[in-house]
Amino acid sequence: METDKNNVIIEDWQSIVNKPVYSSNGKDIGIVRSVQPEFFISSFGPVTHDQYLIPKTSIQTIKNGIIYINEDSDYVEKNFKFE
C-alpha cells in the first residue's frame, strides 16, 4: 500500500494503466500507458503521441476511474512533457 502527499491510497499501481488523466484545470492529459517506480507515463493523441512523465505524487484524486493531478495544463506541458 502506498500513499502520497494527497493521501491517495493506491494498492495496485498497475490498476491505473489505461485510465484517463486530467490536469487541475480540466484538460485531458491522455491515458496512462505504463507505471514506473516514481512516475507514470501518460500519452495523448491518436497518431503522434505527446508523452508525459508524471510523478506519482502528483495524483490528487481518482474519481470514477479518472485520475486528477495537482498541476494545471501549462505546468504539465512545461515540466512533464518529454516527447
Binding site: 512523465l53 512545461k78 512533464f80 518529454f82 516527447e83
Partner: protein, 142 residues
C-alpha cells in the same frame, strides 16, 4: 484401472495449476526486482535487452535509446549531446521538448545502461527499443 486413470488425471491438473501459479509468482517477483534495481528504465526496454543479451551471445547491443532529463535541472541538451558522443561515438540526432535526446547506439548492454545512469543524475527516464540486428535506421517506433 479406470479409477487409477481418474486419480492420475486429477493429480496432474493440480500440479499444472501449482506450476502456473509458481511461475506467475516468480515472474511478478522478477518484474518487481527489475523495477527496484532499474527504477529509471522502461521495463519493456530492460526486458528486451536482457532477453537479447542472455539468449543471443553474439548480440551487438543495438539499441535506439531515448534519454529524458529532469525538467527542473535546467540541463544544457547541447552539452549532454557532447557527453553522449564522447561516450558512444554517436551523436544524438534529435532533441525533444528541450529535455530528451534520441541516439542509436551499439554495444549497449545492461551494464552500460547502469553505467550511464550512474554517471548522470540528471537522467530521470530511459526508454527506447532494442533490436536483434544492428542497424543505423531510426525507424523503430519506441
Amino acid at each position: 484401472m479406470e479409477k487409477e486413470k481418474v486419480i492420475k488425471s486429477s493429480s496432474s491438473s493440480s500440479d499444472v495449476k501449482r506450476a502456473t501459479e509458481q511461475l506467475k509468482a516468480s515472474y511478478q517477483k522478477f518484474l518487481s526486482d527489475s523495477a527496484k534495481l532499474f527504477p529509471k528504465v522502461d521495463q519493456k526496454l530492460l526486458l528486451d535487452m536482457l532477453q537479447f543479451e542472455t539468449n543471443y551471445k553474439d548480440w551487438e547491443g543495438s539499441v535506439l535509446l531515448k534519454i529524458v532529463y529532469d525538467s527542473n535541472a535546467n540541463v544544457d541538451t547541447e552539452q549532454k549531446k557532447e557527453v553522449i558522443y564522447q561516450r558512444y561515438q554517436k551523436m544524438p540526432d534529435y532533441i525533444v521538448e528541450d529535455r530528451s535526446l534520441r541516439v542509436k547506439v551499439i554495444r549497449m548492454y545492461i551494464k552500460q545502461l547502469e553505467e550511464l545512469l550512474n554517471s548522470d543524475s540528471d537522467i530521470v527516464y530511459l526508454y527506447g527499443s532494442a533490436s536483434l540486428s544492428p542497424t543505423d535506421s531510426y525507424s523503430d517506433s519506441a
